[in-house]
Assembly symmetry: C2
Homo-oligomer: 240 residues x 2
């Protein structure tokens, strides 16, 4: 399988600019042969403004950027793409727009069959997995399903957050929320990607990149921590 | 309209026991005439354990508690109820179970037509409103719709949380998430109920109770703070 994915937890780290913290990884990932990247801005309301910001950043890295919302035929734009980047925002809005524009199958086909490199950030990382069931976002619109593009056989929780020992807030911690997910039958692993971390997938090989650890949640087992640089290829087999 | 609702932000405040912080309000709300309260434990996975905890608490307040999951016919249990309490947990799981058991219409009818008092906490407060679109929970299961029981013509965000000025986390703040909701067309007001606050509804009169302020979000307008004791009856008209 030709699959190549760069699944980033978050687009901006505290005090930095848009995609600054992962720009070296983005360049290495898309490489010198890709010239033009197809951007999917559906997760934010103002698609024009979002595209301007992403275009500026990618242009500084040497890539032209075409936004799918500027294309006359979005499915055709995916069909012709050399590389795809889906940005963050609200995951429900993003997934609903992907369904509305009938893009899920075509993105899946291009990435898994044609080897088109796929980068996601935050919500764009959520939709690359089996489902959006472990997003942190509010369900502001109703998508036809929570099933997502399914480029990997597990779920990701981006912006993974450790409990704050000084907090007096009684809402569920992130870990408690993921545990509730695993109370449901036959739920897959959830990789908690802390801000500053990302997952690089090449074929069936998966590697944790970035500057922070990740926390892996498996149904019925205690969570496990992985350092940056860890080989997480075991997650890529369907029967984990 | 006979409607009587007690919509609590959270079941437990930091350092307190289950429903301790609102037990005086609960007693005043259900009063001496209600003897038996129908409990809906669907938001948590372990319904038996949840029922035990709620039963202990309500028993100490002088009420018998029957859980709907112990009833042979859940719809019939609603039909015969003198008072209803829906507890917190995961809002998606709760709403899906309400749909699976065909309880939404019957609860709505009992509360709005027969004046059966309805208490909700956290997820149980979310499902009392127009929709669950402003829940904080993860979408761990897929309900047939985000539309909820609709006992009030607006949305609530329970466990409302102010931004932490010292946080380095880059996920959206609660206010940003609600703003994203209001970017969608024709979205209703969202009442951000901080932990420790609750809304008492009697007919068309709505009063903020508890020990914390609430923050009201209206589409296209700046948010407004309301002190405990405020009259929020203006929220009860459909055209806010
Ligand atoms: Ca988001
Ligand atoms: Ca909850």
């Amino acid at each position: 399988m030709k699959r190549r994915l760069l699944l980033v937890s978050n687009s901006t780290v505290h005090g930095g600019g848009y995609l600054d913290h992962c720009q070296r990884d983005v360049r290495l990932f898309f490489g010198p042969d890709v010239k033009k990247i197809l951007f999917v801005p559906y997760a934010l309301h103002d698609r024009d403004e979002y595209t301007r910001m992403a275009r500026d950043k990618f242009s500084s890295l040497g890539y032209d950027l075409l936004s799918v919302h500027e294309a006359a035929d979005p499915v055709d734009a995916v069909r012709k793409s050399q590389g795809i980047f889906i940005g963050g925002g609200n995951t429900f809005r993003l997934l609903k727009s992907l369904y509305d524009n009938r893009l899920l199958c075509e993105i899946r086909r291009r990435v898994l069959e044609d080897g088109v490199p796929y980068m996601g950030s935050s919500a764009g990382t959520n939709v690359a997995t089996i489902s959006i069931s472990t997003t942190n976002d509010m369900p502001i619109v109703f998508p036809p399903s929570f099933s997502a593009i399914g480029l990997v056989p597990f779920n990701i929780n981006p912006h993974y957050l450790d409990p704050d020992p000084n907090s007096r807030h009684m809402g569920e911690t992130r870990q408690q929320r993921i545990t509730q997910y695993h109370e449901e039958p036959e739920t897959p692993c959830v990789l908690g990607l802390r801000e500053g971390s990302m997952l690089l997938v090449e074929g069936n090989k998966a590697t944790l990149l970035g500057t922070t650890k990740a926390r892996l949640f498996t149904r019925g087992r205690p969570p496990v921590e992985y350092d940056a640089g860890s080989d997480l290829s075991f997650l890529m087999t369907d029967a984990q």
